[in-house]
């Protein structure tokens, strides 16, 4: 039912955008942005359900909460960066969109820095004459 509604609203928005774009490209862009935000807000409850399920899984298995938090943050960064990049790309500014994507990638990689540093420290510590760690 939900998906039917969403597809219906999406088709309607697409037709509207096609009609408006000829006259007022600015409003077409705003309409697309609004549609994206509306879909996102409508699905927040479902996303919350998935996140709760994942948290429960992590709790039961005794996995550290740091892992889960980081993973969820990575997903959030990926989604937000992708969303922003697509909106900007729709407006015809590919270069800005690629910058947004680049920022998202960098932020995801920054999350990996502590893990990499711990692994490297361990490996250096394992080596007999390694680095004095």
């Amino acid at each position: 039912m939900d998906i039917l509604q969403i597809v219906g609203i999406g088709l309607l928005t697409a037709v509207l955008i096609l009609v408006i774009r000829e006259q007022k490209p600015m409003f077409a862009f705003l309409l697309a942005t609004f549609f994206g935000i509306a879909i996102f807000l409508a699905l927040i409850g479902k996303i919350g359900g998935v996140v709760t399920m994942i948290e429960e899984l992590a709790d039961r298995s005794g996995i550290q909460s740091v892992y889960l938090k980081t993973m969820l943050k990575i997903i959030g960064i990926a989604y937000i960066a992708e969303f922003g990049a697509q909106i900007v790309r729709d407006a015809g500014l590919d270069s800005i969109a690629s910058k947004i994507e680049f920022a998202g990638k960098m932020l995801i990689l920054v999350m990996a820095v502590p893990i990499i540093s711990i692994i490297i420290e361990t490996v250096l510590g394992l080596l007999p004459a390694g680095g004095g760690a």
């Binding site: 899984l57 980081t70 990575i74 995801i108 502590p114 711990i118 420290e121 361990t122 394992l126």
Partner: protein
Amino acid sequence: MEALGGWLRQVVAAVLLAALIDLLLPNRTMQRYVRLVAGLFILLTLAAPLLTWIQGDMDAKLAAGIEWAEREPGMEEDEGELAWIMAEAKRIGDGRNDQAAELAATGLEAQIRSAVEQEEGVTVDGVDVQAAWSADGTLEVGAVTVRLKPSGRAERTADASDAPIAAVDPVEPVTVDIDVGEARGPDGPAVRADAEVDGEPDAVDEAAAARAGRIAALIAGRFGIATARIDVVPAGRQGG
């Protein structure tokens, strides 16, 4: 064996989590990066026993590292730092204000004590001044409590202070004979005793109240403190 089971469970959960996150990703541009991080997490989970053995408290280190990684890109650190500095400044300022209030209260206590002792000739047991900072930043005296020493009347104390201190005789042994038979008797003696006691405290109370009023007026006049805030505790009420 239990530790092995727990470790295995963690590994399975980490792999499941990574698969789920891979599934949740919006498109392929981010996929490589997210896979790298997820793979590192799985590696960390696999090597967790080894890492704990070598590094000690790995979890705390990892949590600190991730916190650092999150704070680095944005302005959060600056805001956190600023909030910390503001909180610290408020704490230090409050401490200084408290110290100033305490100092002022101590000075006022000493002045009130000397003024009351000079003017009224009574011995003051203690003066409590409660000073607090008002909302507009001025120091206000909340309540003044003057406790008088149970050394008797003013005149006697004044005389005693002039006379040289006489040598004190050692305390004689006191023998108290209690006749149980009389105490058990009718109400007569007890009533008489009450009547004797009743007469004197009234006079004492009146004198004490008058003296308390004088002391309160003196403090109010000299230090500008409202009389309602001054409480003079006479010698009789010390214990209670």
